[in-house]
Symmetry: D3
Subunit: 264 residues, 6 copies
């Protein structure tokens, strides 16, 4: 996949062609990104909220994902909008912001990720210019479209404000966090992201996205769940985190070895 294809990711996710599946990586190692990005993912997300990336490792990790031909997005820590700008400078194709609970949260997020007149993203995309090969003038006027700002909806407040959040100029789509949502809905009693109650909320949010002409993303606990979420209409899904995929691959290998050994 050439730089051109990587940099058309924003167009793909906005096109509602659907069916996008992304890797999700919390282990802060650039080479890990390169290895995982060899598989048939449409994109890679580096998780700085619950994962252990920092800006420096993420900047190099973005490069390793692009080297493998994949667009790389990043989820920032709660409220760290300065990191959002820095990650775009480093060549991220999009930013996922957790805990966007109100329109004013969304405005602050868009301010950091979009150049004027939409926002106040500050100029300095040195690595992004290297990676995209664009001249500065063209990068400035295309970056707002060529990268995506994705607001996470994962609390009761966010559900209440979902329409307002989607109306904020510069917010390109939403990303639903079903685990936090299930904790919020149960008042802290359970973490249960895959229940009918949560599904009802997910379907509602997909419908609201269609109404607002925004795309919808969601975290799926594993491959099967990801498939169900695609069927619900989500445009972009996660099919389990890195550790889930790593450990399930390892568990399968151990089980196979034990089974064959025991068959002797």
């Amino acid at each position: 996949m050439s730089g051109g294809t990587i940099d058309s990711f924003a167009q793909r996710i906005r096109s509602s062609e659907g069916g996008l599946i992304s890797a999700w990586i919390g282990i802060p190692d650039p080479l890990f990104v390169n290895h995982l990005a060899q598989e048939a993912f449409d994109a890679v997300v580096l998780d700085m909220q619950h994962g252990v990336w920092d800006l420096g490792s993420a900047a190099v990790g973005i490069g390793q994902g692009r080297l493998a031909g994949k667009p790389v997005l990043a989820r920032i820590p709660v409220g760290d909008f300065a990191a959002a700008s820095r990650l775009l400078d480093a060549g991220a194709s999009g930013i996922i912001a957790p805990m966007i609970n109100s329109a004013s949260d969304a405005v602050a997020f868009a301010k950091a990720t979009k150049y004027p007149p939409v926002g106040e993203r500050s100029w300095g995309p040195t690595l992004a210019l290297n990676h995209t090969g664009l001249p500065a003038a063209e990068y400035l006027t295309t970056a707002n479209d060529a990268t995506v700002a994705i607001a996470m909806i994962e609390t009761r407040a966010a559900l209440d404000a979902a329409d307002e959040i989607m109306r904020v100029d510069g917010i390109d789509g939403i990303f639903v966090g079903p685990s936090d949502l299930s904790i919020a809905l149960s008042q802290g009693a359970t973490v249960a992201p895959d229940t009918p109650e949560v599904d009802g909320v997910l379907k509602h949010l997909v419908a609201r996205c269609r109404a607002h002409n925004k795309f919808a993303c969601v975290f799926g606990s594993n491959g099967e769940r990801a498939g169900e979420l695609l069927k619900m209409g989500f445009d972009f899904v996660i099919a389990g985190a890195d550790t889930q995929q790593l450990r399930s691959g390892a568990a399968s290998a151990i089980a196979a070895a034990r089974r064959i050994h025991a068959s002797s």
Copy 2:
């Protein structure tokens, strides 16, 4: 698994109880070790030859494996016996040395991994004392037994010298590298670690280990192969490298998502 259990690993692998399965990690990230070591592996190997570990990351990675209750071994780069000593100082439970092609290679390896009178390992196990909780005097007199030096047999020269290598004082066991062996046997024509020709060599080497009262280890490409290798009598096997397990877990997740999505 307590420190005591970790530190009885050498006794386990020497006991010929067999059936040990280890993780194999080339990605140089300590947290990756912690995650993978949660699965039902008997040990973890950090690969410094074809993986990207250096001494500093490995020292911390050994700690993360021990924190997860697992003994951690390391494979050193070809001929880097100084690293062997340093990794033992950092708390490694054993060292795997690639390309031990002669008795003199084996002697040099044992010299670096065993204290006098067997070898000339130099004193300074600061982290190992922390991790094992042993007083210095006891560590000195027990470390030669409590850690293992494992010589890789993976060339024609090594096959010819296998008996001599096993006779070297301080060499505790061997580790066969079937990929390099297959390249050697085919004079560079193919990398084919799982053929009947290679199996013949593997069985021969297991028999020689039994004759010399040494343990036998081997790299298996995946879980199924690992099971077959255990059935051949190997004491300690690899069930695929980290990247193989990671990518197979990811590929399964993607396939499941695509299948379910397509079923709509």
Copy 3:
């Protein structure tokens, strides 16, 4: 000390058994943590405010402290509550937040460190699940109790608001910073943490903690001062920072060498 013992730290500090002494580490090296944690400390604090830790090194450092059998807490930079959540995800046993000057500061802090319904800590404790061995459901419902959120009182505003801060749901205890307090009290004229004036404030704050059934922590410049602070009733004290202990150990060694050399 097993994981179980580490994870009972919150219960110990809340129990008012008193007498807890912790290491305090600003040098951002995980192995340094392992070495210092060998000494008879009850806990270790990693200082991200005036020390040089970042999230990635702290995540590994927490592991090294736990490997040495000690609970590890972290002090976050001023106002960086996103880091508080991330450190708990990495297995920290508690968070110390500097410059909590009002009830609203305390609420923001508790929001990041406690799951609903107390706060809005977001779900994703991958490393903490590894370290504690708890299933997700149990971690969710016990984490608010099993980890502690500690508010620093170190300005005039904080003194005025101390009762309100202690009343905030989710704040488990306070930590007094006597150096900043002395600067505040002197309007910037002196840094003098060990004066009778400061002692008066410290005693007042211990009394207020007793009244609110919260525990009280404090920074002591050295071992002697730490002993005095324990006598004042503090539950948890620092006996000098890492650099103070390192340099005093070195100074003693140099002095001994010079003295004996001169005696020739």
Copy 4:
């Protein structure tokens, strides 16, 4: 240049002697700082906003710059005032804060960079004490003068509030960002830092600095532009970023080689 000379930088920049030229480094490598600081710069700025420094690398990078005899300043990410305090603790000679768009932004910035009674900078300058050699009491009472807090003016809002910003106690000078300013002035249409329109604003801001007795800094795209900016009256200018200087040096070398080769 001795530590004394480094630590008199604040006095130099305040003295209006003018003509100061600084390096500007976004590449997060301490040795890079050491190499670039060999050239005849008056200071070095580490850019954490559009560059890839984090706190840990910057702390070491500040040391490498000081080792080369140069005062080191840092530009923080937007709104990350906690980093400002930490960088001063690590020995930075000044902090440049981007996007100071109002007096309240400036107050928050000064609060983090100045000790009481001007601000609320928290005590803990361990590395700064090492580097300056000052006793704690003296550091406390001189640091507000010996280090500088520099507010960036680079939006329309900031232009409107410039006088108010300069009036905030603790703000020592301003730094104009002509690229962001040009984007703001053109409503996102162009990045054109070196136009007559921008020059008009720059001259106005220099004049306002003179009126408020503050110093004025500015980013120049290259050496020629830096010379023009010095002529406009700026006290401290950048003569192109690190990558610009690196790449122009490399381009010249390649061109010379090609030219001479072609002349054969």
Copy 5:
């Protein structure tokens, strides 16, 4: 430049088309590689002998160079042939080995860099497979041609053994180190890489390369010297190290600024 173009580098340098100019980088930062590789270099060399790269940073740096479309070679520390294998595994397009002073040095070098039957390079090119996109079987049988092993000639002993070194199977070309050569020729009296005496040796070595059908590489102190060396017939030249290009770019910028400022 696509992966295909990167991976045809070996063919280009062997083709005697001549005129290749490479960057030379000792600063161990992957992003620095990305920036410098934007300029019109034909390749990038990471220097592990006199530069500060280690295996881990180099593995990521190779990726950043490839991301910028450039083949990346590495110079290893003296005698560290294990590193040569590891760098090829990480995707290096060639290895430069310093201080190859005899045919037996050359044999040891070729053994580590070429698969059987030429050498004994061990199997495990995980990253190289990712980067080239080749299946394992094809990588095995093409890697000896697709990567280059380059022996440095830079001592009197090496000059005497030059013909024998070039005859060693697996040595693809030579790289002359004029500084060390000048020190050797002067018995330690001077470092003078650009003298007529050195030129005489250089021309002799180019002629010997032609006779042996090997390619010839050389370090040039700056762009002008690189042009002269290309005219002498060298196939691949360095036009100054990274620090030289960086500092000359910075010095020019400072000089321009001072000149224009003084012209007021």
Copy 6:
């Protein structure tokens, strides 16, 4: 201490003024070096054999020691003479090589640390030129004197070969390792560095140094032992490793706190 004073260290240690005490650091953190170097040490040694430094961290650590005004030496891993050259390039004032057991070991060591005609150290001291401020021509002709190569005597073979080792051109002094020596003398039975038997050997070696006009260095377990060793005539002693000093400082602080607390 200015750069000039740092760079006169070789002259001081050769002058037989005696009484030099050095820090000894295995924790691979540059800031740790800066803190410890504040104490009244004459020098700092970074231990790469039993400590966890690698080349990159050591290069930065050398800078932090020099920044604190102290010459920094490094102990290399066994036989890693390539590292010796690289550390001198980075500004080390001397190299300590462990396990120099024969004249041929010593020759290989001198070859890597001394420029022609004494050895074959390769040219490329970029950081050393920065740090010393010397022009290249002067550095070349003075470096052999201005830095020291120190051979460790710590086995029976080394004791037998001690005179021959001291006669090797380029070996400036010796460093005795009493722990390894005691293990060697006891055939692995005990580690007992401070016995009369060891003292006898130490005195013998000091006498042989005097006879050969070389300086003598030794590791002392703590300050008291260091004083005794200075009295024996050693020129340069260690007064306990970093971890010993750190932990003794911490243990004292804890003890003081417990004592005072208990006195209530």
